[in-house]
Amino acid sequence: MRTTLVLAGLLALLPCSAAAQEAPKVEVFGGYSYIRANPRGGFIGSNGSGWNASGAWNWNKQWGYVADFSGYYCCKGQGQREHNFLFGPQFNLRRHRTNFFVHALIGASHGNAPAVSFSDTVLSWAGGGGVDIRWTDRISLRVAQVDYFGTHYAGTPQHHFRASAGLVIKFGGK
């Protein structure tokens, strides 16, 4: 009996805890980002560190449009750097304190390795998602954003993994 009542109580609470949070008009993210690059072409995959920043403009509670920018730096002694500019839609599943999101992005990447006079701008794309946890009404913590990230150097696709974490600042509300 007692168990049944407890379960009933939990079920009764569920709609409240699962209640969608309001959708801000704009969400700006900034934080640390890591890339595991798989360059192919005879080169060895590398770990790169850098940053990730994005701005999301939300049409409604579920859908928004994202502009995602990132920079990665790698490979001691070579000074390699890559800057990425990606754009695309994002779907949000907003709950009381959390926002689960997924996105599909496409854009361009610029790679530069001055030690060997390499510089190129290529097509790039990303797909993935993450989770934000509400800290205050205006600030959330993006505890994880993970993406499959693709580039197209040397006429062939490369497939990478990236992960980011940081702060999300929210503006406006619906």
């Binding site: 001691k76 390699q80 946890i133 505890v143 490369q158």
Partner: protein, 375 residues
């Protein structure tokens, strides 16, 4: 409690990220494939005398620093490696092994990795000590110190394999080194004593014929190295026992040598000689801890010490010097400290300045060193 959990979650994510974010280094790791452009880099190869392998490095075109190549050191084979030379195209490298063999490798233009050419290794004479490739990239010549002759090979341009030239080996008497002049018409080989043997090269088939008057005698004690200046006017040979550099005029028609006024030029140690691509400077590792630097008089070929010379090598036992085709960087293998010293060259003054991070660890007892040009 929830806020603390959030903090812990974020800290955990960052810790995991930092664990993976340690900079990739040491190998030819990359964020992207660096083969969009032909000839992405220059490489340095050092033949390790005690470990049957060759160390390979990527040259940082800005700083001159060296980064070990993926797969380095590359297994070569045999008990002791000596000389190493690359083709002007940068496509092939040839490494001598004291058990009378010459190994040939194709150089991967992207990674600098080495792949044995068909038929490698190829037999040489006894105790091959030095190797040179002619400026056309068609022929390889090996100085065999024990058998006292020069082995000559034609290079297969398609795959780098070697075919002995008709009549090879060519007698020279205890050849300790070998160099081809910039015209590709003449080959010079000191005998490890006081003489320099000179040959005319048949540029069609690589056959060697003694130059009239060869061998050319000096007052030297132990001539162990030789280098021609890029103009083809002058030849320099180091005397490693009596600490001199002998200088010669080269007769452009016959290849005959005549002693330069002022020769020999005294050093305090002379393990080898190298001339920079501009022909303005001569560098002499002393085999101890220093590198002597000289300015070459463009008219007379006479040597005058560069201000600040000798320069500390940064290692022990500097033996051979290799200069990149741009003339910006000089690399010296230190046999006593198992590393490669790298210097930037002041193209106006010839002054050597160690690059950041120099010296760079190589394999044990690096005997030979060569720079591979951009392909």
């Amino acid at each position: 409690m929830r806020r603390n959990q959030i903090i812990l979650a974020v800290a955990g994510v960052l810790l995991i990220a930092l664990t993976f974010s340690a900079c990739s280094s040491g190998l030819l790791t990359s964020l992207f494939p660096l083969n969009t452009f032909g000839g992405i880099g220059q490489f340095v190869y050092s033949a390790n005398g005690s470990n049957n392998n060759a160390s390979g490095f990527l040259i940082n075109s800005s700083s001159g620093g060296l980064t070990p190549l993926a797969g380095s050191p590359f297994s070569v084979g045999g008990p002791s490696l000596t000389g190493v030379a690359t083709t002007p195209s940068g496509k092939y490298v040839y490494i001598l092994e004291a058990s009378d063999e010459i190994y040939g490798f194709a150089i991967n233009a992207t990674t600098g990795g080495l792949t044995a050419v068909p038929g490698s290794p190829f037999p040489s004479g006894s105790c091959p000590l030095e190797v040179a490739v002619d400026p056309s990239g068609k022929f390889v010549y090996v100085a065999n110190v024990c058998s006292g002759n020069i082995s000559a090979y034609a290079i297969n341009a398609a795959n780098g394999s070697l075919t002995p030239v008709a009549g090879s080996p060519f007698t020279s008497s205890s050849a300790s080194a070998v160099a081809v002049d910039p015209s590709g018409k003449f080959l010079y080989a000191p005998d490890g004593g006081s003489r320099v043997f000179a040959f005319a090269i048949n540029t069609s088939n690589g056959v060697l014929a003694p130059v009239a008057g060869s061998p050319f005698s000096t007052s030297g004690c132990e001539l162990t190295g030789v280098a021609a200046d890029p103009s083809g006017k002058f030849l320099y040979a180091n005397d490693s026992e009596c600490d001199n550099v002998f200088a010669f005029n080269i007769n452009s028609a016959s290849g005959a040598l005549s002693t330069l006024t002022g020769s020999p030029f005294a050093t305090a140690g002379a393990a080898s000689v190298a001339v920079d691509p501009s022909g303005k400077f001569l560098y002499v590792p002393d085999g101890g801890s220093r590198i002597f630097a000289y300015r070459i008089d463009a008219s007379s070929g006479a040597l005058t010490a560069v201000t600040g010379s000798p320069f500390t090598s940064g290692g022990s036992g500097p033996f051979k010097a290799a200069i990149d085709p741009s003339g910006k960087f000089l690399f010296v293998n230190n046999r006593g400290s198992d590393n490669i010293s790298a210097f930037s060259i002041n193209t106006s003054t010839g002054v050597l300045t160690p690059v950041a991070g120099s010296p760079f660890a190589s394999g044990p007892f690096p005997q030979g060193i060569a720079v591979a040009a951009h392909q």
